[in-house]
Amino acid sequence: MAVKDKLKTDLFPTIWCPGCGIGLIMQQLATVMDELGLDKTNTVIVTGIGCTGRMGAYMNFESVYTLHGRTLPVAEAIKMVRPELNVLVVSGDGDLASIGGNHLLHSIRRNPNVTVLCNNNEIYGLTGGQTGPTTPQGTSTISSPAGATYTPINLQGVVNTNPNAYYAKTTVYHQGPMRKAIREAIAWPGFAFVDIASQCIENNGRRIGFASANDMLQHYRTEYKTAPPGSKHLEPHQLGIVKGEPATVAGSAGPAQGAGE
């Protein structure tokens, strides 16, 4: 098998805008899936609504393209009925943390053995650039022309309310750390959340002063610093991984076939 066998390349080019960060996540995910032996007989992809939701359609797996915000109830049910499967949720920050926020809160509490990749572009991109749950305070958007009013949601804090969860922060620029985080998250015996900063040049970046997608990637390169090893908490713009105690017994947690490691 090769990485490109994980992708429905006949459907390329994708629907995503030139310069979008989602393709970089899909590429690294496909690479890790190839490394770990994830295939269409042992893995299911669950996506939500938003630009990221299209990813399931481009991958050579069975995929559930859920309603807006409902990835986690669907993913948890699949894992409960079929504990032998790897269940991957791929969605955006708005889908997971805003409309799906209540499910996120409770899925974390139940610690299902599902892996969540969050394309965190700090904006509602598909609908044109409205303020999202992760939009930094003060950011001008089409629904907050004078700057976003409220504090963004603390995803790390929410995930780490579960002492057995896995939380990683990375960016689409930092492909090695992203790959490592995805690999570890899939193998993690319980709830694992990879929070991936990713650029939306068309419906956010240009409005907030970036000339190109590459400028946004360079911004990630210079702004994000690796957290000291063993950090129990990541500061803003720190790359790193915060691991809880791996669960020995969890409702539907447990290693899945093909997860390697």
């Binding site: 393209y65 049910a77 009925v81």
Partner: protein, 363 residues
């Protein structure tokens, strides 16, 4: 098994198990909560039966979609306000084609309403509750034994139609205890029809309009219409095989009473004075059957626990005026029915006998 006392809600759970259900997700809400509680007990004793108490009904309804796609016959149970929260997922199930069963034990709405007085005001919600056009299959039993029987039929119809099928009940029926021999009820079980996830294919189960290859078809009217007519025709065809109703009482009377669910039981003492048509399949409506039967009667009275939801349907179906006895605010009693009949000048002159309320079983 021999005869024993069974509760309506318990019969629903037992029917689901009999039908082969192995996944339940739900959220507590009266008067349906016994189904959730008993599902949890059953799951504790049978590890192959998976159970999850969810954070809300939105999660419950989406979870049974996931459970069904993963390969388990899946169901949930709720009441009016929870059923409202499930509507989006029900639309998703119709769009994607997911077999599952949603039990709605009706109380008086709208909103939190009158917990937990009995009502029948969710008929329209079972048909029109989600966005867009879709074809619902809905059953409504009227005894504990029927709760068992039509739960099994709901799972069967869900498998055949590949759609979410609704089983209606109500606060009285759900909490009704009756002696029944459920093992004597023999309904063949339809096996799973949907290939479970990760069977080696690359299917995309999409709520977004897509072409068969997964590409968006969000601006293609022809493709939309083709898919819509295909699923509609398939569900109507399946529903034809589940055309359940009861026609009885005094068939020689001049007036036909239409009543369903618990209302039909409450109205039993009127049997000598009226003919009865009881739809068990609420949706799609029983047009052929009711049109033929209704033609024999001078007058039609619809007695129901809403302000005319089914009466409106009957009027439009038959193109004729029907009399209405709406039982509102949870006042679902023989006295309320008599008062309603008196108001429209249809109360039988003879005092009605107050005999047994056991339904005659007519196919």
């Amino acid at each position: 098994m021999t005869k024993r006392l069974v509760q309506g809600n318990e019969a629903v759970l037992l029917g689901a198990v009999k039908a082969g259900a192995t996944y339940f997700a739900g959220y507590p809400i009266s008067p349906s909560s016994e189904i959730l509680a008993q599902a949890s007990v059953y799951a504790a004793q049978h590890p192959e039966f998976r159970f999850l108490q969810e954070e809300d009904e939105i999660a419950s309804a989406n979870a049974i979609m996931g459970g069904s796609l993963a390969g388990a016959k899946s169901f949930t149970a709720t009441s009016g306000p929870g059923f409202s929260l499930m509507q989006e997922a029900i639309g998703y199930g119709h769009k994607v084609g997911i077999p599952c069963v949603i039990v709605n034990v009706m109380r008086v709405g709208p909103a939190t309403g009158m917990p937990t007085m009995p009502g029948q005001g969710d008929l329209n919600q079972t048909r029109y509750g989600s966005t867009g056009d879709y074809t619902s299959i809905v059953f409504y039993p009227s005894s504990v034994a029927e709760c068992y029987e039509y739960t099994i039929q709901a799972f069967n119809a869900a498998e055949e139609s590949r759609s979410p099928v609704i089983l209606l009940s109500d606060a009285f029926l759900g909490h009704l205890n009756e002696v029944a021999d459920l093992d004597a009820i023999d309904v063949p079980i339809v096996p799973r029809t949907l290939e479970p996830l990760a069977s080696g294919g690359t299917r995309l189960f999409s709520g977004v309009a897509t072409y068969p290859d997964g590409e968006p078809a969000t601006a293609d009217a022809d493709e939309f219409i083709r898919q819509y007519h295909e699923s509609r025709a398939q569900r109507v065809e399946v529903a034809e095989r589940y055309a359940f109703y009861e026609y009885g009482w005094n068939k020689d009377a001049e007036t036909l009473v239409i009543a369903f669910g618990i209302t039909r039981r409450i109205a039993q003492p009127l049997a000598p004075h009226f003919a009865l048509f009881r739809p068990i399949r609420i949706w799609p409506t029983l047009d052929k059957e009711l049109t033929e039967i209704a033609a024999r009667y001078k007058k039609i009275i619809v007695i129901e626990g809403s302000d005319g939801q089914y009466a409106n349907v009957v009027e439009r179906m038959l193109f004729r005026r029907v009399e209405r006895v709406p039982l509102l605010g949870g006042r679902m009693s023989l006295e309320a029915i008599r008062e309603g009949l008196a108001e429209i000048g249809m109360l039988p002159a003879e005092p009605t006998p107050s005999g047994s309320a056991s339904p005659a079983r007519v196919g």
